[in-house]
Amino acid sequence: MTEREKLMSKVQRYGFAVVEANLYLDSHPTCPHGLEYYTKNKALYDEAVAEYESKFAPINLPSDPKSLWKWSTTPFPWEYDPNLKEDE
């Protein structure tokens, strides 16, 4: 796994924990364990997203695009070709 893949995997793992906790809390809005689980994973998700975005490409619309609009110049998530290296 490349560094990019490893970091995206981290984003997806914490992102999934956030999605799952969100659905659970919809029907258990006062559950202290659910709220704690959500808070912990949301912070880890935001941190992983920020790290991925600073090293590779935007996941959310950028707050400071600087000199290049990377949103439209980096790969979309459905693209995968085993013969091409993603970091290049």
Binding site: S9, Q12, D26
Partner: protein, 205 residues
């Protein structure tokens, strides 16, 4: 409103193409129990749900279904990468190719286009919740049917994730149904539509 998050909910990296498998998995995009129907169903039903919790469940499960449309589309896209005319001719993908090439189109494995007739929004939350519970089971069994037909680990991994999500959504809709019923007369849940027949009029004219 929505913002796009530029990632998949779960990673999909399919090394080997398989156009016949793509034409079967297509049903989970545009078939009668597919992800498009699921997203449209829940996002349509949420407006008349009788309490905020059930509105939230429909809103957030419906939103997750949009990300599942994207996952199924990605699987089909990657399974049909760099095909030769001979590979298409030799596969079950040929009829789809004739109209869509390798574009992603919402249709079923049978070749029927997606239609809103696949789902309902009745305005009656008890009827809607029962439809939603059934829909999650039908999607789950379609994923089971896919898993019986392929041993490709890259495809199975993503399909198993999606199958698990159907089970979690079923659980959440069960809780939604319970929340609605808890606010009704337990002697007769079906006496009236809690989203329409809201309360007895205070005064008769």
């Amino acid at each position: 409103m929505w913002y796009y998050t530029k990632k998949l909910e779960y990673p999909i990296k399919i090394k080997n193409t398989n156009p016949t498998l793509a034409s079967l998995i297509l049903s989970q995009l545009g078939g009668p129990d597919g992800e498009t129907g699921a997203a449209m169903r829940y996002l349509s039903q949420r407006y008349t749900a009788p309490c905020h919790e059930v509105q939230a469940i429909l809103n957030d499960v419906g939103t997750e279904e949009l990300s599942h449309m994207e996952m199924i589309s990605t699987i089909i896209y990657q399974l049909t990468r760099n095909l030769t005319p001979q590979q298409i001719m030799d596969s079950g993908f040929a009829p789809y190719y004739m109209e869509h090439t390798t574009g992603i189109y919402t249709a079923s494995a049978n070749g029927n286009s997606f239609t809103a007739d696949f789902f309902q929004s009745t305005g009656d939350p008890i009827a809607d919740m029962h439809e939603d519970l059934a829909a999650e089971q039908k999607a789950r069994l379609t994923y089971d049917n896919i898993l019986r037909l392929t041993d490709d680990p890259d495809v199975r991994d993503a399909i198993k994730f999606l199958r698990e999500r159907e089970i979690v959504h079923y659980q959440r809709f069960g809780e939604g149904l319970r929340l609605i019923q808890d606010s009704l007369d337990s002697k007769n849940f079906y006496a009236y539509n809690p989203s329409f027949d809201k309360c007895k009029p205070a005064k008769k004219f």
